[in-house]
Structures are given as C-alpha cells and as structure tokens.
C-alpha cells in the first residue's frame, strides 16, 4: 500500500502524518508513507486544498482532517 500525505509543511499536514503513522503502527498494515510537498505534484492530483491523503492513487480526503477511525477504515477495508 502506498500512502501519500499532500501538504507543504504546516501544522495540519504534520498532524495528518502523525495520525497516519500511528494507525499504520497500530494496525500493522504494510505501507510506504510518502510526504508530498511539491505544489505541482499536489495539484497533479486535482487537489485544491491541503492537507490531503492519497491511498494507492485515490484521494481519500482533502482540506479536512480525518479521524483516526476514518484512516483506519481506509487502510484496513478492501
């Protein structure tokens, strides 16, 4: 699983990364976590507001902070 956290480095982006890393740690999901800070790459996803979370190429949320439970469901439900 490839997880990309889109954001140029503000507090919310860091918070999202913390949540994702915590969920990956708790669930034991095998995932590559990448922080995308390049604005052109971010816009390449069609994302207009960050932070945003992309899982295996699909944008799951943008402009809002997900809950831990939401992230867990995205990482564990097929």
């Amino acid at each position: 699983m490839k997880i990309e956290i889109l954001g140029v480095g503000c507090a919310k982006c860091h918070k999202l990364e913390e949540i994702v890393r915590a969920v990956v740690g708790d669930t034991g999901v095998s995932a590559e976590i990448i922080k995308v800070e390049d604005i052109k790459k971010i816009m390449g996803y069609g994302v207009m507001t960050t932070p945003a979370l992309v899982i295996d190429g699909e944008v799951r949320i943008a402009g809002k902070m997900p809950t831990t439970d939401q992230v867990k469901s995205w990482l564990t439900v097929k």
Binding site: V8, C10, K12, C13, M43, G46, V47, M48, T49, G63
Partner: protein, 138 residues
C-alpha cells in the same frame, strides 16, 4: 494554486456550456478568480469522478458555481456528489441565451451583479421555469 492548510477555502466553477452564456460564464468565473479570494478548479474533474477534485469540493468551505442558463449543469454536477454550492445563473441576472454577444462589458456587468447578488443555496430558493431559457435559439 492549491490552498495549503487554509481555512476559508472557496472554490469556484464555471459551467462548460457551448452557448454564448456558457462562454460568458467561463470568462466571468476567471475574472472573479483574479479579483477575489476564490480558487478556480475544474468542473470536468468532478464530472469524471476524479478523486482529487471530488474530495477538494467536499473539503472546501464554500463551492460557487457560475452557470450560463437554468439547466445549471455546474450546480447539478456538484449536487451529484452531495455538495450544495452557492449558485449563480447568468440568465437569472438578465442575460438571454442565444442573444448575449460575448464582450468585456457584459463580463464586467455580470461580475458586478454576482458580487452584489445573494447566491441561491437550494433549488427551493429559485423559481423553476424549466428548459434552458433560450426560447429555441440555442
């Protein structure tokens, strides 16, 4: 450009209409983008179901649609994904479809009217007349 971790993100979309009012809607949207605090983004991306555009709309504080005529494709495209935009329809603001030559003057006029008008949030707030409003001219 994307808004980083910003609050108060306002996204604005133009309909992609082929008629004169559709072209004016596009130019009005681009002018409002340049003048205001809106980010213009792609309606077609939402229509195509592209996740970045869909999630950006759902995460925005406000979505604004500029439609040329009462068919309101832009507004309906947002409503299909469960988003209720602030809707402006140029024929409601005085344009007649098929009889509105595109000009800077008309674009400026529509921009001013939109800035003064209160956008319709719900279908119930507008009078539904049906049809595209061109009287057979489109």
């Amino acid at each position: 450009m994307a808004e980083c971790c910003g609050s108060g993100t306002k996204l604005i979309y133009a309909c992609s209409g082929a008629a004169d009012v559709g072209e004016i809607a596009d130019r009005v949207t681009r002018k409002l983008r340049k003048e205001g605090d809106f980010l213009m983004t792609c309606l077609a991306g939402i229509g195509a179901g592209l996740s970045g555009y869909v999630q950006s709309a759902k995460g925005a504080d406000e979505n604004i649609t500029i439609d040329g005529c009462p068919v309101a494709c832009a507004r309906k495209t947002l409503e299909r994904i469960g988003v209720t935009p602030t809707s402006y329809i140029l024929t409601d603001l005085g344009l007649v479809k098929g009889e509105s030559p595109v000009s800077e003057k008309i674009v400026d006029l529509m921009c001013e009217k939109i800035k003064k008008a209160k956008g319709s949030k719900t279908v119930q707030e507008r009078t539904i007349t049906g049809g595209c409003g061109c009287g057979g001219k489109c």
